[in-house]
Symmetry: D2
């Protein structure tokens, strides 16, 4: 079934409520990195600011818990606190109903009634929830997004701990279902360890046999790539012969490897600074129309923080941004489901099965 985009209904700004609203107030930041008191913080929803009479401006590339800055040309931008510069004009006001020139439009999308219903019931997603429809909807969505959207994957290392799952995700990359990837050092290390040694953390990724001196395998992988100077070199010279990272590099698909305090190495190219990494992640998140986070709390929550529930494409087309989190624990997925948006979905399962199933499902559709 082809994917149907829910239509978006902007607020009716000709109504008296909006006509009578004052202009949004902006106040200059007194210091770098610090917002004025009573700053307005963004949500995941479409937000409109009355920047001039008759002109409500919709935020583009928004994300939650940031501030809104009126740029020189009159355009609004959504900034993290740490990016504020002294003198930046920051939006002030905490009412969301227009009374302060700010309107948060939480229910703009015209989701079909059964989705609404379903979600009202579905507040608790557990391991016993039925997920057949979620797979089918996801196939529809990914087929659509492959050519019309930007599919951003967020991967935990478990994705490459298993041979079939690693192979299936590589196939997803090769067949065009991956437009960007966010992960950490470990995902890349173990993906390449699998290519060099057939292992992950010293255990064969198919037979589970623990190889001799297994605890050296990831260190040798890291050291070899560090010797060559870059992941790209390791691939170009044929040291890394297969896997997810190689597929991404060969297809020139952008990815961000964010450093963390758990890292060994790290691999060249892993971003050391947490906040430079956030900027890199957000540069992909800005474009994303569907995000799928697999078996990682750290990266999934980080990405969730920087992804709004909508995206503005073209001049002013608004569409939803879908956020799937796939994990084994109710606790992990409910951290993300708390976004309170119809565009957040959870599937509780092992990511290995998820990746293998989704790849097979999409392939079968193409063939079928």
């Amino acid at each position: 079934m082809p994917y149907t985009m829910p239509s978006y209904k902007p607020p009716d700004f000709s109504s008296p409520q909006f006509a009578a609203a004052p202009l949004a107030v902006f106040r200059a930041a007194a210091q770098d990195g610090v917002a004025p008191e009573q700053f307005h913080a963004t949500s995941i929803f479409p937000e409109y600011f009355k920047v001039k009479e008759g002109g409500w401006q919709l935020l583009r590339e928004s994300r939650m818990d940031c501030v809104v800055v009126l740029e020189a040309g009159g355009r609004l931008s959504v900034k993290e606190f740490r990016h504020l510069k002294q003198g930046d004009l920051v939006a002030i006001g905490r009412k969301e109903n227009g009374e302060e020139g700010i309107f948060v439009h939480a229910n703009g999308f015209d989701f079909p009634e059964h989705v609404m219903e379903k979600f009202s019931f579905r507040t608790r997603i557990t391991r016993e929830t039925s997920f057949s429809i979620d797979y089918d909807e996801l196939y529809d969505l990914l087929e659509y997004e492959r050519t019309n959207g930007f599919i951003l994957w967020v991967l935990g290392p478990a994705t490459v701990f298993d041979r079939d799952s690693r192979k299936a995700f590589t196939a997803l990359v090769e067949s065009g279902y991956v437009h960007g990837m966010l992960a950490g050092n470990a995902l890349a290390v173990h993906d390449m360890e699998a290519s060099l040694f057939g292992t992950a953390l010293g255990q064969e990724i198919y037979s589970k046999r623990s190889v001799a001196l297994g605890h050296y395998k990831h260190l040798d992988t890291i050291n070899r790539v560090r010797t060559l100077g870059s992941i790209k070199q390791a691939i170009d010279r044929g040291v890394v012969k297969d896997g997810i990272i190689r597929a991404l590099v060969e297809k020139r698909i952008p990815y961000v490897l964010a450093g963390s305090i758990r890292d060994d190495g790290p691999l060249p190219g892993v971003i050391e600074s947490a906040y430079v990494a956030q900027d890199g992640m957000r540069s992909l998140a800005r474009q994303a129309t569907t995000i799928i986070a697999l078996a990682t709390q750290l990266h999934a929550i980080a990405t969730g923080n920087m992804v709004p529930s909508y995206i503005v494409t073209g001049r002013d087309k608004v569409r939803p941004v879908y956020f799937y989190s796939v994990d084994m624990s109710e606790f992990a997925v409910s951290k993300l489901a708390d976004r309170g948006s119809l565009t957040a979905r959870s599937i509780l399962t092992n990511v290995q099965d998820f990746v293998v199933t989704v790849e097979r499902g999409l392939r079968k559709r193409c063939e079928g």
Copy 2:
């Protein structure tokens, strides 16, 4: 790859250790349901009893935590305490090395070395363990067992909460991969609720839509079957048109529905007595060569208690009995993995994905 049965090497009873061993001692039970002091309790392993000079007898149809009774004809039987009758001759002795005429043979199977190794490493199975090989080995095993063994499934109700999973398990029944099933009232109720109303606990099993008066759906299902007097009637009269229970009944595959204190109803045919239910379960467990328990702690542990690690077929052929537990939580599967046997396996995933994947995997092999 065709399944290879590990060979079994019985103890060498001609060795001096065994030749010199005394006969096993049996003492009469003084009361019904009570064993004499120092009774021997069975394990999951093959156990031999020296019942006459030169004659070590292997237990058939064993299970753990039971007593061994010397029957009139000289045959040994393995009995639950509650089945002991006054005067029954009960084996005495707690040494397992032959010194008391009792020998527990824990390492009789000749598993290939890589299995041994793998298992030594694999002591902790987590959600991040690689499971590709487990699926492949399971396909091999189930193909073999379909014609040569007895595959016993133990199902939690989550198996029928999802349309695709329910359909896939029904297909497994129809294609011969199910020789027996153990479950509770809820599995049967919600399977038939799905047939009557398309729901499980009032929620559609595909769309997840909550139907009007949904909380009546399982009660109406139960009440309707109770009106007809039996599950068989409900199927014969066409009230229950599809699903797992119908497939089992039509293919005359034995199943046991054990009652529990959680039950509504119950359905006709659900066994009220916990211990009569145990007997019914064990009558299937005695024949089982592979058991697969899905998403149920109560029934999985109960079944695990009554399943040994081996089965004697024909006159004296000994082969392993495999026990798979499939669940979402490390806690649940480790309860079963504690059996300490190479024949116990765990897969950590959502059972919906498991069932759909296994059915597809087996079907593809048949077609391929």
Copy 3:
């Protein structure tokens, strides 16, 4: 802070809506154990039936998923399907607003506003939820209930796997905070195993040392009690010297041990029939004003099914029935929290810590 009972506001039956309502319809059951079509099923809320003009009768001792029978004297009783007799007059009607002479009063209790608020926010209880207030409220409640209510505990075996927890619960029994207990065979077996051998499943409950022939300890315990014929005998003869069961027996506190298919033994006194056990459990549940379920899904859900959100005391006083579930997993507690009642509470923690903390908290209050 002394516990404050929320007041209960019955519906205003003098209002036109109720005055105009028809009498509730009752239809005779055609067979034993089967309800007439369109039977009304009970909820956990107070329900009123217009049995005669001007007379709305409130259900007493209700529970969910049962039917309502008009008894000879005009009194209504709430029956499980399996207890229906041919000819029983069963209430008919599925509207809950009075239109069919049946009114379900879901919001009768006057909970303080902050409780309402708190709960609206608190829909998701996770391991990261703050629980300080829940302990404090529980102390208040239990102090009140000790003399004014009926505190029913539902125990999983983990409660006695730890020395301090077993001791603390025994102290709760001795100091009057336990008016009834529901559990299974295992709780009693391991509690008495601890008394006889200092172990649970062969592991010392303090040092964790695994004793020699540990796997015999619970079997020897069961066999010894079976020899004596009853738990009472085992206590009277000094075989069982301490622990929870001994304390209950000595203080003549009623308890129900429900049999299950997992049981070894069972102990004498364990109820074999799941449905006789349900009746026994319900006979305590009918009196309960606060229920606390610890680390058991099976017994907690079973009890939850038979406990309403209110109790009628004296002639017609209505008060809430509180239901606490204490467990380690979001999945387990959310099964119970789905009751949708302000009287259901969850605490996510290890039950050992919970029991020790609650006993200490209550003791300190008494001393303080």
Copy 4:
């Protein structure tokens, strides 16, 4: 019971095996940050290197997965790959038995037999394991460490989501049981949010009431501290009046706040670079004699990576380093328990209960 330190038995280097061993080989690093092929990687155990005839040198301040560098003066240091400089002399060899001049001493500590036994049994720690003894041993240990050791805590934010837990941990700081703390931005943010607003993420930490504009509370906290320029300023000026961070600062206890991609803000003082943060963490980890990690996978694993199982104090005294991980999930704690050391301990419970219980237990001992 006063804590008894297990004695340490160094290898007998006078034995022929060691006398005949060759000198360890060191090879110069060819590039910065890259080790020579066949580098030796460190473990968590005491390791000895034969650097000259008759001289086996024990590594001090070791950690796993690092390389060993022979410094100018003949001293060995344990370095992360990223700290290697061109020309550094790196130990070569992967045999651990002395054959290559390297000896890994995995069983040097003389743990009492019951500890050994206990641990052999205890391979699986679950929510049903008995933890009474762990609390008692921990009290003994912490009393000893308070004056004789260095207790390093690793905190997840859940520690401050609850009023009683936050208060109890603050008391631990004030009474001398905290010598260092490792955490992330969130712990500090919500601890100070509690001081400024009484909330964590906008929910009151005792009543659970959701305050108006709650989602601004942590942002306002961060923004206020950023305005003042430092956490120290926020404390000195009385903005932050209580809590864990204030107690640490006032008692001049060192702490490291490591930045992560999940951070809002961040607070001043949070270390942006993952690897600078690692260095900071390791500078505390080097001194640690007992580490306790509460409800954080990221920080607990990161710390576990940099903590060996032993520490050398004074000239050459070797004692164990204990590592406790406290969490709600078997999965989380088994990640750390895989260290395979008798010095790693796990307690499965809610950290709120853990902190409150430990503080009370220690206080009672002091008073008692």
